[in-house]
C-alpha cells in the first residue's frame, strides 16, 4: 500500500520493492502499485529477489526458516533518542556489504487534510529537489558517485526515504539525507516542474486498469477515510497546490516525535551512532501540539476514534475501459498494525488461504475448478486498521462462480477450525518469509524503521515467537470470523 516514487529504471515500470519485500507486520505488498511489472529487468539481473512468486510454489517473499531460530545470528536492535526526541534504531550487520539508512516519518497521506490531497507524496518528490545547501540533483549525484542508491515511498500512514551506501560513506550519507529531508528548499519553480512529474505518475497509474479497479474498491470500502483516497492525490487538488501549503505540511509533520531513523549495516566502533548525536536530527523540534496517539499508550487500537477505519461492507460492479480480464476484488478490515499479535495471526490466515498451490483458495479456484488465472490475498498492515485485499483474475463469464466459490471456501473455514498441518504449513511459510527478509540490510532497516516509528519496540525474534502462539482453535475463534464475506466490500470489475 505504498507509492514508490523515485527511480523506476526497469522497463515495465516495475515498482517492485527492491529489497525483497516487507516482512511480517510491516507494510506489505501493494496491489495498488506493484502490478505493473512486465517481468523485465535490467542488466545482469534476471531475478533480483523474486525466487518465489504467486505462480510458483511456496512463499512470496523468500527467506530462510531455521527451526532453531533463524534470527539467532543477528543481534538486537538498539534504540536511542536524540536531542528533542527523534528516535534512532540500529542493527549491526557486520557482514553486510552496504549500509542502509532509512528515514521514516508519520507523514503519509492519512496526515493530509482534504485540501492537502496528494501533498504527502508530492513533498516526497520535492525533497529530492534539494535544500539550501544541496542543489537539485546533488544528493543523487553524491550518493550514486559513491556507488550507492536511494529511493522513497509514501504510504497511507507514513513516508520513508532510504539510502544504500558503502559502509564507509554512511556518515556522509546521513548528513546529506537529513539535510534534504529536514530542510527541503521547496522552490516554487521546482514545485511547478515537479507537479508535472507527479501528474505524469498519476496518468501512468490511470492507464493501468487494475490500479484503477483497486482505487475504486478502496474508495467504496473506506468512504470518508484517508485509506479510501488515492495516495497520489486528486488531480484537481494537485493542479491547485502551492509550495507554501507544502512548506506548512512539512513544518507541521516532520518533527522529532514523528520521525525515526533506522540504520542497518556494519556499525563498527559505534562512531556512526555518535555522529548522529551531532546531526540535524538531534536538533529537530517536537510537534507544537501533542498528538492524539502518544507512544506512551500506543497499545493496540490506541489511535483516536476519528482516525479509526470503519470499513463499509457492500458490493458493486463497475465496467472499466481497457480491462482485458475480469477482476473480483474484496476488502476486509482486520486489526491495526499496532496489534502485532493479531496481524501475525492474519498473516497466517491469508497464507493458509492463498499462499502457494496448496493453499485453499488457489487449490480450489485455480488448480481444481480452474476458474481463475490467479487469486491473491494480501495483508496490508495499517495503523488505523489493516486491510486484507483479495484479487481474483478470471473470464467475465466465470465471475459469478468465482464469487460463489470464494464465499464457500471462506464459510468452510469459518465453520470448522483448520487442521493442525495446514496451520503448520502457514507458520513455516510466514516464518521463512520473515527470516529470508532479514538477509538484506535494506529490508532490515525498513522493518526496524516502520516498527519503531509506531512505537513497536521489539526483539527481532518477536514475530517468530508470536507465530508459535497461534494454534488452530485460537486462529479459528479469534480471526476467521473477520473474513466473513458479509464483512467485506466486494467489487466486480468487468471489461467495458
Amino acid at each position: 500500500m505504498q507509492v514508490l516514487t523515485r527511480g523506476v529504471t526497469d522497463l515495465g515500470v516495475s515498482q517492485a520493492v527492491s529489497e525483497g519485500g516487507a516482512p511480517v507486520g510491516s507494510t506489505l505488498t501493494t496491489n495498488l502499485t506493484t502490478n505493473l511489472a512486465t517481468g523485465l529487468a535490467t542488466g545482469l539481473t534476471t531475478d533480483l529477489e523474486t525466487d518465489c512468486v504467486a505462480d510458483g510454489i511456496g512463499v512470496a517473499v523468500p527467506q530462510p526458516v531455521c527451526r532453531t531460530g533463524g534470527s539467532a545470528s543477528l543481534g538486537e536492535p538498539q534504540q536511542r533518542l536524540l536531542g528533542q526526541g527523534a528516535a534512532v534504531v540500529s542493527l549491526d550487520l557486520p557482514q553486510a556489504p552496504v549500509t542502509c539508512l532509512d528515514f521514516w516519518c508519520r507523514a503519509g497521506s492519512a496526515a493530509e487534510t482534504l485540501a492537502e490531497s496528494g501533498l504527502a507524496h508530492f513533498l516526497e518528490h520535492m525533497v529530492f529537489k534539494g535544500s539550501e545547501r544541496l542543489g537539485a540533483g546533488q544528493f543523487d549525484l553524491r550518493v550514486e558517485a559513491l556507488g550507492g542508491s536511494s529511493n522513497a515511498a509514501t504510504g497511507f500512514d507514513d513516508v520513508h526515504y532510504h539510502v544504500l551506501v558503502p559502509p564507509s560513506a554512511a556518515a556522509e550519507a546521513i548528513d546529506l539525507l537529513l539535510d534534504l529531508v529536514l530542510a527541503p528548499r521547496l522552490d516554487p519553480e521546482d514545485f511547478d516542474l515537479e507537479r508535472q512529474v507527479v501528474l505524469e505518475e498519476l496518468a501512468q497509474s490511470e492507464d493501468q486498469p487494475e490500479e484503477v479497479a483497486f482505487q475504486q474498491l478502496l474508495s467504496r470500502a473506506c468512504p470518508g477515510h484517508a485509506y479510501g483516497q488515492p495516495i497520489l492525490g486528486r488531480r484537481q487538488a494537485l493542479e491547485g497546490h502551492r509550495s507554501e501549503a507544502m512548506a506548512a505540511f512539512h513544518q507541521r509533520l516532520y518533527r522529532a516525535d514523528n520521525c525515526c531513523l533506522a540504520v542497518a549495516g556494519p556499525l563498527g566502533d559505534g562512531a556512526l551512532l555518535e555522529h548522529l548525536e551531532r546531526s540535524a536530527l538531534a536538533g529537530l523540534a517536537r510537534s507544537d501540539q501533542p498528538k492524539p496517539t502518544d507512544r506512551a499508550n500506543s497499545s493496540p487500537g490506541a489511535l483516536s476514534d476519528p482516525a479509526r477505519l470503519h470499513l463499509q461492507p457492500g458490493s458493486d460492479t463497475v465496467a472499466l475501459p481497457r480491462l482485458e480480464a475480469a477482476r473480483l476484488l474484496m476488502a476486509w478490515q482486520v486489526p491495526p498494525a499496532g496489534d502485532q499479535e493479531a496481524v501475525i495471526g492474519c498473516d497466517l490466515l491469508t497464507t493458509l488461504l492463498a499462499e502457494g498451490r496448496r493453499s485453499r483458495l488457489v487449490a480450489r479456484l485455480r488448480e481444481q475448478l480452474r476458474l481463475v488465472e490467479s487469486i491473491d490475498l494480501d495483508l496490508n498492515g495499517l495503523e488505523a486498521g489493516s486491510l486484507v485485499l483479495l484479487e481474483a483474475v478470471c473470464e467475465t463469464e466465470h465471475l459469478p462462480a468465482v464469487e460463489a466459490e470464494i464465499r464457500r471456501v471462506l464459510l468452510e473455514l469459518i465453520e470448522t477450525p483448520p487442521p493442525l498441518a495446514e496451520l503448520e504449513r502457514a507458520q513455516r511459510l510466514v516464518g521463512n518469509g520473515y527470516r529470508f527478509g532479514l538477509e538484506a540490510a535494506g529490508s532490515v532497516a525498513g522493518l526496524l524503521g516502520n516498527n519503531h516509528l509506531w512505537g513497536r519496540h521489539q526483539p527481532i525474534q518477536a514475530p517468530l515467537d508470536a507465530l508459535t502462539r497461534w494454534d488452530p482453535q485460537r486462529l479459528w475463534r479469534e480471526l476467521t470470523p473477520l473474513l466473513d464475506p458479509e464483512r467485506a466490500f466486494c467489487l466486480r470489475a468487468l471489461p467495458a
Binding site: 522497463l11 515500470v13 535490467t42 542488466g43 556489504p97 552496504v98 498451490r357 538484506a440
Partner: protein, 469 residues
C-alpha cells in the same frame, strides 16, 4: 571505490561440515581443482555432478539459508516453429509432477517446509530457483534434478498450465508498456528467436501437443546447464543431488560460450522502423531501441556503461533531462538485459498525450547525442561508479549471488567474468563508448502506444528527426 567491492563475506567460512575437502571427495566426477576466491561473491568452489552438470557452491556466513539456481541453456529463443511459448509451458510443468512425486505432493513438500520453488523460461534458458532453510536443504535439493529428468507432463496439467499462460497473455494487453514492448520486439527481431515473449503467442500456445513437450523435455541440458548453490548448503551434495535421479546423474555439460552467434539485426528503413499501437490511454508510451550484442561481446561492457550513464539511478542522463529538467515523465529508463544473442538496448518513457511531440523529440535527441558526442570524463567516472555499485548492491542476498553467477556461467562465460569486467572498466575511454554506440545504435526503432492524436504528433516528430532517415 574499494569500499564497494570489498566484501567481508569473502573471508573463509568456518563450516567444517561443508568444507571443500568433503565436497571433492564425495563428488566422483570432480576433477577440477576447486576453490577460486570471488572478490564480490564470497568463497566459491566448483565440482561436477555425475552426468556432467557443473556445480558451483558459494558459502556465505550469516543466515542459515540455501538458494539454488539451476540454469539450463535453451529458452524461448529455442521454441520450435509454430510452438512459440513451449519452453515457458514446459518450465511451468516441471513442478507439476516428476519422479515419484505428483504435483500436489511436490507442492505439499515444498510449501510444507516454507520453501519456495519456481521454474520459468527466459529467452535463453530455463531457470529453476529453490530457496529454503539450510536445515531443510537435504529434503529439497534431491528434487532439483528430478524436476528436469523425470517430469510427468500429464495432459491434464498441460491443459491447466496452457490455460494460465493464455490468460496471462490476455491480461498483459492491459499494460500499454507491454503493448509497446511487444511491437518493438517484432521490429527488432521479426520472426527470429527473440521475436516473441517467452509466454508465447496465443495461436501457437493453443496448438502445442504433449509429444513435442516430451521431446523438448528429453533435450533439457543438451545445450548445457549449471547449478549454483549459495548460502549454507549441506556437505553431502552429490549424494543428495543424485538421490532420486540415480547414480548416472543427468547428462549435460557446462554451457559453451556464444554458440555460433552472429549479428542478425537488419535495420529497416525509416518507415518500418516506426510502429504505432493505438490505445485510448492518458499517456503515450515510447520505446526506442536497437538489437545489439551478447553479454561478453567486445562491445558488451561499453554498452553496459552507457546503460549506467543513461538509465541507472536518479543522476542518470535520461532521468535528469527528461524528468528533472523537462518534467516530461515519471518513468523513464533504459532496458538492456544480458542475452546470449543480440540483446536489446531500449530507451523507454511514458508522457502525457498532449506532450507527445516534445517527448518524442527530446527522446530522439538523447539517442542522437549518443552517436555524436563522447561522454565527458566526469560522466564516465560516474558511470563506472554506478557499475561497481550495482555489482556490490546486487550481491546482498544468497539468491542474488547465485542468480548472477548462474547467469554468467549459463552464458558460457568464466566465473570471474564480473571481476574481469570490473578490472577492464578503467581501461574504457569515452571514444570506446562512442565507437560502440556508432556501430550498434545507429538505426534505432521506435514503438509507440497511445491515443491517435498523440501517435500522429509523435510520428511527425519522428519524421522530422534525422534518426528516422
Amino acid at each position: 571505490m574499494s569500499p564497494v567491492t570489498t566484501n567481508p563475506s569473502a573471508t573463509p567460512v568456518a563450516h567444517p561440515a561443508a568444507s571443500d575437502g568433503s565436497l571433492d571427495r564425495s563428488l566422483s566426477g570432480s576433477t577440477e581443482p576447486a576453490a577460486s576466491q570471488g572478490s564480490l561473491s564470497g568463497q566459491r568452489s566448483r565440482s561436477v555432478v555425475p552426468g556432467g552438470c557443473p556445480l558451483w557452491v558459494v558459502h556465505r556466513p550469516g543466515p542459515e539459508i540455501v538458494s539454488a539456481k539451476l540454469w539450463i541453456r535453451g529458452g524461448s529463443s529455442s521454441d520450435p516453429i509454430g510452438q512459440r511459448g513451449s519452453h515457458q509451458l514446459l518450465a511451468g510443468l516441471l513442478s507439476r509432477g516428476c519422479g515419484d512425486h505428483s504435483g500436489e505432493a511436490l507442492a505439499d513438500q515444498v510449501e510444507g517446509l516454507g520453501a519456495g520453488l519456481r521454474c520459468e523460461a527466459s529467452e535463453d534458458g530455463l531457470l529453476i530457483s529453490l530457496k529454503c532453510a539450510a536445515a531443510d536443504a537435504d529434503q529439497l535439493l534431491p528434487l532439483l534434478l528430478t524436476l528436469v529428468q523425470k517430469p510427468w507432463l500429464l495432459d491434464d496439467q498441460i491443459d491447466l498450465e496452457r490455460q494460465l499462460n493464455l490468460q496471462a497473455l490476455q491480461r498483459h494487453r492491459e499494460d500499454p508498456f507491454q503493448l509497446a514492448h511487444d511491437r518493438l520486439r517484432q521490429q527488432l527481431y521479426g520472426a527470429g528467436p527473440y521475436g516473441h515473449d517467452p509466454l508465447g503467442v496465443e495461436a501457437d500456445l493453443a496448438a502445442i501437443r504433449r509429444d513435442s513437450l516430451s521431446e523438448q523435455a528429453a533435450q533439457l541440458g543438451r545445450q548445457g546447464a549449471v547449478l549454483v548453490l549459495a548460502g549454507q548448503p549441506p556437505a553431502n551434495l552429490e549424494a543428495l543431488l543424485t538421490r532420486e535421479s540415480g547414480p548416472g546423474g543427468w547428462a549435460t555439460q557446462a554451457p559453451l560460450a556464444n554458440p555460433a552467434w552472429a549479428s542478425s539485426s537488419q535495420p529497416g528503413d525509416g518507415s518500418n522502423r516506426l510502429a504505432c499501437t493505438e490505445e485510448d490511454t492518458e499517456q503515450l508510451v515510447l520505446m526506442l531501441g536497437a538489437a545489439t550484442v551478447p553479454l561478453g561481446h567486445r562491445h558488451g561492457l561499453a554498452l553496459r556503461l552507457l546503460h549506467c550513464h543513461l538509465g541507472v539511478g536518479m543522476s542518470s542522463r535520461l532521468f535528469v533531462t527528461m524528468r528533472e529538467e523537462h518534467g516530461l515523465a515519471y518513468d523513464v529508463g533504459v532496458h538492456h538485459p544480458a542475452r546470449l544473442g543480440a540483446a536489446p538496448f531500449v530507451f523507454h518513457l511514458s508522457s502525457s498525450a498532449e506532450r507527445a511531440f516534445e517527448a518524442t523529440t527530446e527522446l530522439l535527441n538523447e539517442w542522437q547525442r549518443l552517436l555524436q558526442q563522447p561522454l565527458s570524463s566526469d560522466d564516465l567516472a560516474l558511470a563506472r561508479a554506478k557499475f561497481r555499485g550495482q555489482e556490490a548492491m546486487g550481491r546482498q542476498t544468497g539468491s542474488q549471488v547465485a542468480d548472477r553467477l548462474a547467469l554468467v556461467l549459463g552464458h558460457g562465460l568464466p566465473a570471474d567474468f564480473t571481476d574481469r569486467c570490473l578490472g577492464e572498466l578503467d581501461g574504457l575511454e569515452p571514444a570506446d563508448l562512442l565507437a560502440a554506440a556508432r556501430e550498434l545504435l545507429a538505426s534505432p526503432n521506435l514503438s509507440l502506444c497511445g491515443p491517435a492524436q498523440a501517435l500522429g504528433e509523435a510520428e511527425s516528430a519522428w519524421r522530422k528527426h534525422s534518426l528516422s532517415s
